[in-house]
């Protein structure tokens, strides 16, 4: 699969007023997004998510490191030829109608007038704004403006989508529709980078996630990898008695009895197998053994707490 977004050792220092140290927004981050992939960028406020997206768009210049989109360095305006961007709190000029906004941004993306005219109705149909095609943006609700923003990002059929809080202000049905639309774009080969505070949204949508903290990648991987507590397993076995629990504890495992099953904390997979052997050696029957998963929110909160402890 072709890599469409590549970030390597990216650093960004913001100047501050005299006598004060510079602010480190990004401290050497690396990640890549391939075609057809949905990638989530997470982190608390000030972690560097927006700075990363701004660098990818050439809105802000990196202090060091490199970033490329579609194989071109972000310094080159051509790198944005196939990029669709939906900024957070975007302000599509409210004196324009949906048709006019799409026409202006389509033309600025280098599209021919005939192609724009053909694309506008089908795109507005996809974001459920067909009825509002000739209505000025100032009459739109927040959710409608957000959907129009998405249409503006998609007008030139981009290969890369950078989305900042795409479902902000959108009702639950609309959110699902946007998720479906993004999945469809990814299915067609588009690389999607999603920047959102709605962790459930990321969990439902993204293939891989990078969690930023203080300008560094604090956690990285697929949603499955990040939410799997590798050292914690749920074991349903019979019989579970005190002698078995004691035998498990003797090995150094943490054992918790919860509603008739056990939650085991082990050091590694070998340790887990040793416990299973002990169970069987005692004549016990293993009914179920599953890794305990946390939500993305749990992982996120754990990261923030770890930061607080460090401080």
């Amino acid at each position: 699969m072709t890599t469409l977004i590549e970030v390597s050792g990216l650093r960004k220092l913001y100047r501050s007023s005299f006598g004060k140290p510079k602010i480190t927004a990004l401290d050497g981050i690396d990640f890549h997004v391939s075609e057809g992939e949905m990638f989530g960028l997470l982190g608390p406020n000030g972690a560097g998510k927006t700075t990363t997206v701004k660098i990818l768009l050439g809105l802000t210049h990196p202090t060091s490191g490199s970033a490329s989109v579609g194989g071109l360095p972000v310094k080159n305006p051509e790198s944005r030829r196939h990029v669709g961007y939906l900024p957070e709190g975007h302000k599509i000029p409210n004196y324009l109608t949906a048709r006019q906004a799409l026409s202006i941004f389509g033309r600025m993306s280098g599209m021919e007038t005939s192609a724009i005219q053909k694309r506008i109705p089908e795109l507005l149909e996809r974001v459920r704004l067909s009825q509002w095609i000739d209505v000025r943006v100032k009459k739109f609700s927040k959710g409608m403006t957000q959907r129009l923003g998405l249409a503006c990002a998609l007008i030139h059929s981009p290969k890369v989508l950078l989305l900042d809080e795409p479902t902000d202000g959108v009702d639950p049905v609309g959110r699902r529709e946007i998720r479906d639309l993004l999945r469809e774009e990814a299915k067609n080969g588009c690389a999607v980078l999603l920047n959102s505070h709605l962790l459930s949204e990321i969990e439902l949508t993204c293939d891989r996630v990078a969690m930023l903290r203080k300008g560094k990648v604090a956690a990285f991987g697929s949603v499955e990898e990040l939410t799997r507590k590798t050292a914690t397993y749920k074991m349903v076995a019979s019989p579970i008695d005190e002698s078995l629990v004691a035998a498990f504890r003797e090995t150094g495992a943490g054992v918790e009895r919860v509603n008739g099953h056990m939650v085991l904390s082990v050091t590694d997979v070998e340790h887990l197998n040793a416990l299973v052997d002990k169970l069987r050696a005692g004549g016990g029957m293993l009914n179920e053994l599953t890794p305990v998963r946390s939500t993305l929110e749990d992982v996120f909160v754990d990261l923030i707490r770890a930061e607080e402890v460090q401080q």
Binding site: K54, L57, G58, L59, T60, H61, P77, E78, S79, R80, R81, V83, G84, Y85, P87, E88, G89, H90, K91, I92, P93, Y95, L96, Q100, S103, I104, F105, R107, M108, S109, G110, M111, R136, C152, L162
Partner: protein, 285 residues
Amino acid sequence: MKVLVANIEDVMREAAARWTLIAYFFLSTIFIIIFASAINLDIVNGALAGAKLFGKEVEMGGHNEISIEKLVLGFESGFSVFLYFICTFLAIFATAHLVPRMQEKGTIDLYLSRPVSRVRLLLSRYIAGLILAGSNVIYLMGTIWLIVAWKTHVFHPRFLLGGTIIFLIIAVLLAFAFLVGVVTSSTAVSIMTSYGIFFFGLMLAAHDKIAAAVSKEWQAALINALYWIFPKSAELGQAVIAFVGGDEMPERVLSVLTPAPFLSTAAFGVVCLVLASWLFTKKEF
């Protein structure tokens, strides 16, 4: 070209939606109507026998008959300087917001995320602003020219061509407004400083007298330097009169029709535009 067309469409739609365009042309139209209804000429055998301004008889200076060509020439050259001020002020007022509004958070991202270099984006917007301002210059001068031609049957194209000098000062002031807009992102500051520099230029026309009046040599040198740096708004206003009046004008008026004020004013505009483009390229959003 597509970027330019998109920017022109954007600027015109904004001007229309925000009533700028309507107010711009409405004020110009009011001015034209007042002008058309104020002047009544009595022409007998191709010569002016009498004239009324706002219903009152105009003193003919002892001459019973004045050549209508001469009257039109004198009138148009005098009137063109009035238009010089009107057009310049309206143009800056109608276009100074173009950069600050584009630089607003949430809007600039939408423009800069397109495959367009920042310089191209800024210059496209500048040209769009000039088209808006230029259309009003053409409307105002063209209509007045037509009214004069209709009432006197004298067609004097130099009056229309005088509009190019007005257009030059507008282009230079707009470049300055763009520079201030890029730096401050403030429409109010862009308007104030552009008007300020225009008036400063008027005052600096007397730079010789001011320099002679100051007590220190460096102050005199500074005054003279500022004169050469800033747009020559006084000289260009005078040039409009001289250009429209042509050879009929006194030597004192015609003396301003030299390349120096035009070139130095244009150079100021070019430097402002280059600086604005450079700063816009470096700016972080």
